[in-house]
C-alpha cells in the first residue's frame, strides 16, 4: 500500500489452477475482482491469506496466488479469526457461500461481527447449495422448489446485511458479480476498512438457479452513499429491493485487540506463582 513501485498487476494474484466452477458461474468474476482488489490494496500475495469453508465458492483460495486455507464447512470465520489474532501482520480475507456462512456457520457469522477483528468476509450468495446440487439455503425464497423441498421451504429468507449490522459488523456492502470492477472497488475498501468488513456479493448460480441471470437487469447502484449510523443503514436495507449495490455502512467501532502483556517475560518467570 505504501510502496506503489512494487504494486503487482491483478494477474500476479491468480494461480495457474483451473476452477471447477460451471461455465457462466458468477464466482469467476468474483475471483477476478479479488485479484484486482489485491492489486489495488497493494499487499504482496504472500502477505494475504484467503480462508474458506466448504462449497463452490469456498474453492476460491486455491485459484489465487496468495496463501489459502480451505477448511471445514461453516468454520471459515473461526479459522480466519484465529489466524488474524495470531498473525496480525497478515491481510486475512474469509470467503464462502450462503449455505456455508449463514446456515452451518451462522453462529460464527454473528460472533465475528460482534468481535470486530480486522478481517474481511466475502459471501458469494446465490441462494442455493450448489455443490450438493441444488438445495435451499437460508437466503432461498420460501416458494423455491427442489428435490429436498418439493413444496418450497415456506421459510422467511435470512437477511445477512441487517443481521451483520445488528451484530456489530464495522463495514457492510452489497455487490454484484456481474460488475467485477465494482466488486473490486468495494473489496479493496472493505479490506482497508478497520475491523470486521462484510461484503455480500450476489453471484448467480446459472446451473441450479438459471433465473438469476436476470440479476444483471435488476441490480442498481445504491441511491445514497454509506452511512455511519447502523440504524439508518438497517432501515435503508430493509426497505430496498435487495438489488441495491454499494457500500451501505461504514462504522467506526474499535477493532478487537486481544490483551497483550506489559513486559515480555520468559516462561521461567511464570514459575513463581507455583512456588511453595
Amino acid at each position: 500500500m505504501n510502496d506503489m513501485a512494487v504494486a503487482l498487476q491483478p494477474a500476479a494474484y491468480k494461480s495457474d489452477y483451473k476452477p471447477i466452477w460451471c461455465p457462466g458461474c458468477g464466482d469467476y468474476s468474483v475471483l477476478s475482482a479479488f485479484t484486482k482488489a489485491f492489486s489495488m490494496v497493494g499487499r504482496k500475495p504472500e502477505e494475504i491469506v484467503v480462508v474458506s469453508g466448504i462449497g463452490c465458492s469456498s474453492r476460491l483460495p486455491a485459484y489465487l496466488s496468495s496463501y489459502g486455507f480451505h477448511g471445514v464447512h461453516g468454520r471459515a470465520l473461526a479459522a480466519a479469526t484465529g489466524l488474524k489474532l495470531a498473525r496480525p501482520d497478515l491481510t486475512v480475507v474469509a470467503s464462502g457461500g450462503d449455505g456455508d456462512g449463514y446456515s452451518i456457520g451462522g453462529n460464527h457469522f454473528l460472533h465475528a461481527c460482534r468481535r470486530n477483528v480486522d478481517l474481511t468476509y466475502v459471501v458469494m450468495d446465490n441462494h442455493v447449495y450448489g455443490m450438493t446440487k441444488g438445495q435451499p439455503s437460508p437466503t432461498t425464497e420460501p416458494d423455491w422448489q427442489s428435490k429436498l423441498s418439493p413444496t418450497g421451504t415456506g421459510l422467511r429468507v435470512f437477511h445477512p446485511l441487517v443481521v451483520a449490522l445488528a451484530a456489530g459488523a464495522n463495514f457492510v456492502a452489497r455487490a454484484f458479480s456481474g460488475d467485477p470492477n465494482g466488486v473490486a472497488d468495494i473489496l479493496a475498501e472493505a479490506i482497508r476498512h478497520p475491523g470486521f468488513s462484510f461484503v455480500e456479493i450476489l453471484s448467480p448460480c446459472v446451473t441450479f438457479r438459471p433465473e438469476q441471470r436476470n440479476w444483471k437487469q435488476a441490480v442498481h447502484p445504491a441511491p445514497v452513499g454509506a452511512t455511519d449510523d447502523p440504524a439508518k443503514a438497517a432501515r435503508r436495507i430493509l426497505s430496498d429491493d435487495g438489488f441495491n449495490v454499494g457500500i451501505l455502512y461504514r462504522g467506526n467501532r474499535p477493532v478487537y485487540r486481544p490483551p497483550v502483556g506489559k513486559a515480555k517475560k520468559q516462561p521461567a518467570d511464570l514459575e513463581k506463582e507455583f512456588e511453595v
Binding site: 471445514v72 453462529n107 460464527h108
Partner: protein, 581 residues
C-alpha cells in the same frame, strides 16, 4: 493395612466438610499450604454438590511424607463445620473404626452413614468457640484442630493464614486465636494421627493443580495462542492461561463455541503459532471434525481433554477415564493422531509440554487426556524440571525450488510454508490433495497421502517417555492416567506382602507402540488392566493394538469414585494366586 498406630504416620487423609460459604475449601487450602511450608507433600481434591454456589462442600486432603498421586482407601478423620447434606460425601469419604468424626454438637449429630463405620465421634463446638473470639470463624477452629491432629507446626499455619489475609491484617489476631483454640481442642487426641517428620533435604516444591500444570506445560512447550470455550472441569486451565499467556507474548481469545475454538487454533497454527485449546468430553465430541482437518491439512494443534463422567453431559464435576475411545478412534476417515495421557499432576505439565513438541514436530493434532481428578486437585510436588522440549516445526525456507507442501518424504513430515514466506504460497486443504496441495480424488494421491500421514507418527522415535515402566515380576499392572498413583501404591503394598509386580503406565496411547509394550512385558505372564470407566475402553484398546499375555484381568469401575490402592492391591494378590493358563 494397619490403620491405628502410635508410631508417626507417613500419610494421613482428612476431609474438611461444610455447607457452601462455611469456608472449608479455604481451610483446606491453608492446611495444604502449611503442610507444604513445613516440608510435607500433599493433595487436596475439591468435591461439592451440584449447586452452582452454596451447596455442600468437601476438601478431601491427603498429607504425606512422600510424593502422592492418589487418595488413600480410607479417611483418618472427617471434620465437619456443619452436617448440611454432608452425608452425600459418604462414598467419597470412607471411614472405619480407627477414624475420627469431628462435628459441632450445635449442628446436630453426625449422619448415620458415617457413624455406622464405627468411627469415634468427637465433639468440637466450633460455632461456640468462634463466637467467643470476635471476628473469627468456625472454619479457622477446624483448621486449627486438623493441623494439630496432623502435627503441622502452629507457626507454619499462622504464617499461611497471615499471608492469605494480606488485605485484612486486622482480622489476623482473631484467626490466630481461633486456630490456637482449635489446636488446643485437638491436643487430647494424642499422636495417633501425627505425621512423621518431613524429608530433611528438599528441592524446590510447587503447589499446583493439574489444570495449571497442563497450561504451564503448554507455555513451556511454546504454545502462544489459545482459543477458549468454558467447560467443567477444563475451565481453570483456560483461566490460568488468560493472564499468563499475554505475559509471554501470547494471545487468548474466548470463542463462541467449541467448533470455533478448535477451528481458531487450527487457523492460528496454520499461521505458524503453536496453538492449544482445552475442553472436556462434550467439547471434544464437537471438535472431532476439525481434528480431522488438522490431520488432513497437517496442522499441528493440541487439545487438552480434562475427562469427566460421560456420556452426554454426564457428571460434569467428577472424574472418569471414559474418553479413551473417542480420543483414539473418534474421527472419521483414517486419521492418525497423537494421544498422550499424563499420569500425575506434575506430569500434566511434562506430558502437555511433550504433546506440544510432538504435535509441532509431526504436524499433527495431539489430544492430551487429563481428567477432573488431575485438573482440579491441588498438589504439593517437586518442581517439574523443564524437559527443554519445545515445538520445533519443520518449515520451508523462502526460495525453496518447486515447493510442494505435502511432499512425500521418508519421515512423512514435509516442510511447512508459513504465510508471509515469499514464493511458497499454497492452500492448506482438508480435501484429499496432491503433494502440491491441489484437491485430488485420485486413488494414488489418496493412498500416498494416507500412508505419509500414518508414517510420520509411526516412524517417530518417542523415546522412554512413551510409558513409565517400574519394578519386576511376572505380574504387570497396565494402566494410564490418574489410575497410576493407586496402581503404584498397590504394587508397593504387594511387594510388602512378598509379591512382585511391575507397573506399566502408558503415556503415549496413540500411535500404539506394540514393540515397546512387548519389551516392557518381557517375562510377564499375567496382566492386570486398571482403568476408571464402565466399559473397559482401555482394555479393548490394548486387545486391539497389542499382543498381550494369555492371562489378562480387567479391574475397572466408572467414576466418580476413584480407583483406590487397596482395590488394586487385592487384585494383584488374587492374580498371584492364579497360575498362568
Amino acid at each position: 493395612m494397619t490403620t491405628t498406630t502410635s508410631t508417626p504416620r507417613t500419610s494421613v487423609c482428612i476431609a474438611l466438610c461444610g455447607s457452601g460459604g462455611a469456608g472449608v475449601m479455604t481451610a483446606g487450602n491453608l492446611l495444604l499450604e502449611a503442610a507444604a511450608q513445613a516440608g510435607w507433600y500433599g493433595l487436596m481434591v475439591r468435591s461439592s454438590g451440584p449447586q452452582i454456589r452454596g451447596g455442600e462442600a468437601a476438601a478431601l486432603m491427603r498429607i504425606a511424607t512422600h510424593p502422592i498421586d492418589c487418595m488413600d482407601d480410607r479417611f483418618d478423620a472427617i471434620v465437619a463445620v456443619d452436617w448440611q447434606n454432608i452425608h452425600r460425601f459418604a462414598d467419597e469419604v470412607p471411614l472405619d473404626r480407627s477414624s475420627l468424626i469431628v462435628g459441632d454438637p450445635e449442628q446436630g449429630a453426625p449422619p448415620e452413614v458415617f457413624v455406622k463405620s464405627g468411627a469415634r465421634a468427637v465433639e468440637l463446638p466450633m460455632k461456640k468457640i468462634a463466637k467467643g473470639i470476635p471476628g473469627s470463624w468456625p472454619n479457622m477452629i477446624a483448621l486449627g484442630f486438623a493441623s494439630q491432629l496432623l502435627g503441622i507446626p502452629a507457626d507454619k499455619v499462622k504464617a499461611v493464614v497471615a499471608r492469605s489475609l494480606k488485605k485484612g491484617a486486622e482480622q489476623l489476631p482473631a484467626s490466630v486465636a481461633a486456630i490456637e483454640a482449635g489446636r488446643a481442642a485437638a491436643a487430647g487426641e494424642g499422636a495417633a494421627f501425627t505425621l512423621a517428620a518431613p524429608p530433611a533435604a528438599r528441592a524446590k516444591r510447587w503447589l499446583i493443580t493439574g489444570n495449571q500444570a497442563a497450561g504451564f506445560g503448554a507455555i513451556r512447550g511454546g504454545v502462544r495462542f489459545v482459543a477458549a470455550y468454558p467447560i467443567t472441569p477444563a475451565t481453570e486451565l483456560l483461566e490460568y492461561m488468560a493472564p499468563a499467556l499475554p505475559q509471554v507474548g501470547g494471545v487468548l481469545v474466548q470463542a463462541e463455541d467449541e467448533l470455533a475454538s478448535v477451528n481458531m487454533i487450527v487457523g492460528a497454527s496454520y499461521g505458524g503459532v503453536p496453538a492449544l485449546t482445552a475442553t472436556a468430553g462434550p467439547g471434544l465430541a464437537l471438535m472431532t471434525e476439525a481434528l480431522g482437518l488438522a490431520v488432513a491439512a497437517e496442522v499441528p494443534i493440541v487439545v487438552v481433554d480434562v475427562m469427566r463422567g460421560g456420556p452426554s453431559t454426564g457428571i460434569p464435576a467428577k472424574s472418569e477415564q471414559s474418553d479413551v475411545s473417542i480420543a483414539l478412534w473418534g474421527l472419521h476417515g483414517d486419521a492418525p493422531r497423537l494421544v498422550i495421557a499424563p499420569n500425575s499432576i506434575a506430569d500434566c505439565l511434562t506430558a502437555t509440554q511433550w504433546a506440544v513438541h510432538l504435535a509441532e514436530a509431526l504436524q499433527a493434532p495431539a489430544i492430551v487426556l487429563s481428567d477432573q481428578f488431575f485438573g482440579q486437585a491441588r498438589a504439593v510436588t517437586d518442581r517439574p524440571a523443564d524437559s527443554g522440549l519445545v515445538g520445533e516445526r519443520l518449515t520451508a525456507p523462502a526460495g525453496s525450488e518447486g515447493y510442494k507442501r505435502y511432499a512425500v518424504t521418508d519421515s512423512g513430515v514435509s516442510p511447512m510454508a508459513i504465510p508471509g514466506t515469499p514464493g511458497l504460497a499454497y492452500t492448506a486443504d482438508g480435501l484429499e490433495h496432491s503433494e502440491r496441495g491441489i484437491p485430488s480424488s485420485g486413488a494414488a494421491d489418496h493412498r500416498v497421502q494416507l500412508a505419509k500421514r500414518e508414517r510420520k507418527l509411526v516412524a517417530h522415535d518417542y523415546g522412554a517417555q512413551w510409558a513409565d515402566v517400574e519394578g519386576e515380576g511376572g505380574i504387570a499392572v497396565v494402566t494410564f492416567g490418574s489410575c497410576t498413583g493407586a496402581a503404584r501404591e498397590a504394587i508397593a503394598r504387594a511387594r510388602a506382602d512378598g509379591v512382585n509386580a511391575r507397573l506399566v503406565s502408558m503415556r503415549l496411547l496413540a500411535p500404539a507402540r506394540p514393540k515397546l509394550l512387548a519389551a516392557a512385558l518381557d517375562g510377564v505372564d499375567r496382566v492386570l488392566v486398571v482403568e476408571q470407566n464402565h466399559g473397559g475402553q482401555f482394555l479393548r484398546y490394548l486387545r486391539a493394538e497389542f499382543e498381550l499375555p494369555r492371562t489378562v484381568r480387567s479391574f475397572r469401575h466408572p467414576g466418580p469414585l476413584p480407583i483406590r490402592p487397596e482395590e488394586v492391591h487385592r487384585q494383584i494378590l488374587a492374580l498371584e494366586e492364579e497360575s498362568p493358563r
